[in-house]
């Protein structure tokens, strides 16, 4: 036993640890230096414990990612933040939810998005209703009636277009503030800074989740391959042993048969 062969006066373990971590005062260090010079047991143990520390130093935890982020006082006090809650939702579900919300919103609003030389124009369905030909004033209805009596659908077209254009202008003038959502935006317009930040964060979250999943899967795969190889080698060894055993058994059986045959032949020869 190491303790029995070391004559250090004092608590050897404590001093050894203090020396190992260099968390020791100068006088104690000098005294232990002197002891080390003469004690091979302590030198060996110090070296071994240093080796343990080297191994421990190679044990690194995985990347934590971003574990939490507080957005506001109220949100944070209420529990987990929005971002931390978002982390727990799979990336595919986040994308599906975003598409669903966008699709439903667009459907409800009967959204019409147009991008041309005038820039980006977003128009809701209500402004289309204002221009729809089903909405007819009595004057237009009268003209439609007259046209149908005089010349049929072909004669109706020029008069209807002009009237509908006038009607559209009238509706636009009357309802533009309420119903028209045309928002001219410069072609070089960018999303607001806040939205960009949110998009960036969501993208980072998704990337991080994907990276983590890939790492985990790669690891599982490597472990599976290692396990499979080990299993294969074990199986091969087992097959080898079994074959050897079968061969031995066969050899013994053949030997026995040969001996029996020789005895039988000898007996036959003796009778003859």
């Amino acid at each position: 036993m190491t303790q029995m062969s070391c004559g250090y006066a004092g608590d050897r373990g404590e001093t050894l640890i203090a020396y190992l971590y260099d968390d020791i005062d100068a006088a104690a260090r000098a005294a232990f230096d002197a002891h080390l010079a003469a004690c091979e047991v302590c030198r060996a143990e110090l070296e071994a414990l240093g080796g343990v520390r080297s191994t421990l130093a190679r044990w690194n935890p995985p990347e934590p990612g971003r574990v939490l982020a507080f957005e506001s006082q109220a949100g944070a006090r209420g529990g987990r933040s929005r971002w931390s809650a978002l982390r727990e939702i799979p990336a595919w579900a986040q994308v599906a939810a975003a598409l669903l919300v966008f699709g439903v919103s667009a459907g409800i609003a009967n959204l019409d998005v147009r991008y041309d030389s005038n820039g980006l124009a977003i128009r809701t369905g209500w402004s289309k209703l204002a221009t729809a030909p089903t909405v007819a004033t009595p004057a237009v209805a009268t003209q439609i009636g007259n046209a149908s009596q005089s010349g049929g659908p072909q004669a109706l077209a020029p008069a209807s277009k002009a009237d509908l254009a006038a009607l559209e202008r009238q509706f636009r003038a009357g309802f533009r503030p309420q119903s028209t959502m045309a928002v001219p935006v410069s072609p070089v317009a960018r999303p607001a800074a806040g939205e960009t930040e949110i998009l960036r964060k969501v993208r980072a979250l998704i990337d991080e989740a994907e990276r983590r999943q890939q790492r985990e899967l790669a690891l599982r795969l490597a472990q599976a391959i290692t396990d499979m190889n080990a299993q294969r080698q074990a199986d091969l060894r087992r097959v080898d042993l079994t074959l050897n055993r079968v061969e031995n058994n066969l050899g013994v059986e053949v030997l026995k048969n040969r001996q029996s045959m020789q005895q039988y032949l000898m007996r036959v020869n003796q009778r003859q």
């Binding site: 070296e47 044990w59 795969l221």
Partner: protein, 195 residues
């Protein structure tokens, strides 16, 4: 401008969420590492890490600066780890999703780390985790705080609430057990002691 922890704490108490975010950014990695090495499970360590910051945030108004913010945070995390160890929670392993080509995913692993490196690192981690799991909680905590967080013996004693000599004894006993266990499973380098 770089604020000290204490300044960020003061600003957080006065309602500045960004300051607390800064504290999280500063300390999430050490706290996660502490939890991971104490618990040995990544997902649970992440939970402990999150819970540590949530508890810290809620208790922030009561923080009077008697100790360093980091020591206070470590204490919260260690208490949570202790709770976890008592509960002995076990999470399910990661399941590979269906219709996914594992070979492709394996090939797309971290470009800086080959599969062999990854396996070697994980093997070492498994060996160390296995050896660490044999230690009593007090010895494991002392080793983690000293080895990976560089706390002095006195800081560990203050944090855990035990005499200085007890910390050294726990470390000595813990390292001795690790030496024996690691020798069974790895070739511990014979390099000179790190001082």
């Amino acid at each position: 401008m770089t604020w000290t922890d204490e300044e960020l704490v003061a600003r957080s108490i006065s309602g500045d969420a960004d300051s607390f975010n800064e504290l999280i950014l500063r300390w999430e990695r050490p706290i996660f590492a502490l939890a991971y090495r104490t618990i040995g499970r990544e997902e649970d360590a992440r939970d402990v890490c999150q819970e540590t910051f949530l508890r810290a945030f809620r208790a922030l108004p009561g923080f009077r600066g008697q100790a360093k913010f980091s020591s206070w945070l470590y204490r919260i995390a260690l208490n949570l780890c202790r709770d976890w160890v008592r509960r002995e929670r076990r999470a399910p392993v990661v399941q590979a999703p269906e219709d996914v080509d594992l070979m492709d995913l394996a090939a797309a692993a971290e470009p800086s780390e080959s599969i062999e490196d990854l396996v070697a690192r994980k093997d070492l981690a498994r060996v160390v985790e296995k050896a660490m799991a044999l230690l009593p909680e007090e010895q494991r905590t002392a080793i983690v705080l000293k080895e990976y967080h560089g706390l002095t013996f006195q800081e560990i004693a203050d944090l855990i609430g035990c005499p200085l000599s007890t910390v050294k004894t726990r470390l000595y006993q813990g390292l001795t057990v690790l030496r024996r266990e690691l020798a069974k499973n790895t070739s511990v380098p014979k390099g000179s002691a790190r001082t």
